[in-house]
Symmetry: C2
């Protein structure tokens, strides 16, 4: 599992919301996009997935935007990431045993299973509340993520 851009953006989005009032307040898409250096239209699609997963709420109309539905203490990195990129796995046969007839007796398969469980547990153990405690990442109207230009430097 390599974190895709969409996954990274989703994490940034949630961080941004968690920082700015948590489940209490609404942040506009433009603000979240600016804060996390996320292409605004791409964020729209990401937000829709987060919304379907019940992680955020989308408010339409003037003064619309996004609101966190789950308290940061209850929300893990794993939840957000898997909402975006689907259940984590490291090799196809872990999630689709039928993709390889050897899977049932395969020693390598067992390693992938174990490694995946370990990884998912690690990510499940990290809540956004914990992440917020350490100073980091985006600050609305302050420190921000790098622009595309800065990244390519």
């Amino acid at each position: 599992m390599r974190l895709t851009r969409a996954g990274e953006y989703a994490v940034r989005c949630v961080m941004c919301l968690a920082r700015n009032g948590g489940t209490e307040s609404v942040v506009s898409r433009q603000d979240v996009a600016a804060c996390g250096d996320i292409p605004s239209h791409f964020l729209a699609k990401i937000a829709q997935q987060l919304s379907r997963a019940g992680i955020i709420e989308i408010l339409q109309g003037a003064k619309g935007g996004y609101r966190l539905l789950v308290a940061p203490e209850k929300l893990s990195l794993l939840t957000v990431i898997e909402a975006m990129i689907g259940e984590i796995f490291l090799n196809d046969c872990v999630v689709r045993p039928e993709s390889c007839h050897a899977s049932l007796s395969c020693a390598v398969n067992k390693v992938w299973m174990q490694a995946r469980d370990q990884l998912r547990q690690t990510l499940a153990g990290v809540t956004f509340a914990k992440l917020l405690q350490e100073e980091s990442c985006c600050i609305l109207q302050g420190d921000k993520f790098p622009t595309q230009d800065e990244k390519n430097a």
Copy 2:
């Protein structure tokens, strides 16, 4: 890091060689390909990478083929996989800190670093000797990997 096909094939290739004489004998590309259900020409490219990494030796000419250079006891899954798909990482910023200006102070980044280290350690701890102990995977001229048709079933 999702294991690519090439990565999976490389593991199968090494398993096959390890099973059939280890560092002592040569197995032809055709035999390895049949054993692991690997497109033969694709295997050629994979073998070249494994060879550059010093994991196998390629013997040209009639009666040519591949030979394991590293004893199965000394060869870990991590080595083979990283020879194929490069150093494992879960998010870009782990391996290219300059890709995100926040990386130095980012709490999320730290999680990715830790998760990556854990994963690499797990894979480094598994040698092909260990894998061979448990009956599994390909057996030259016997049990074999599924064909494309079987996989799509």
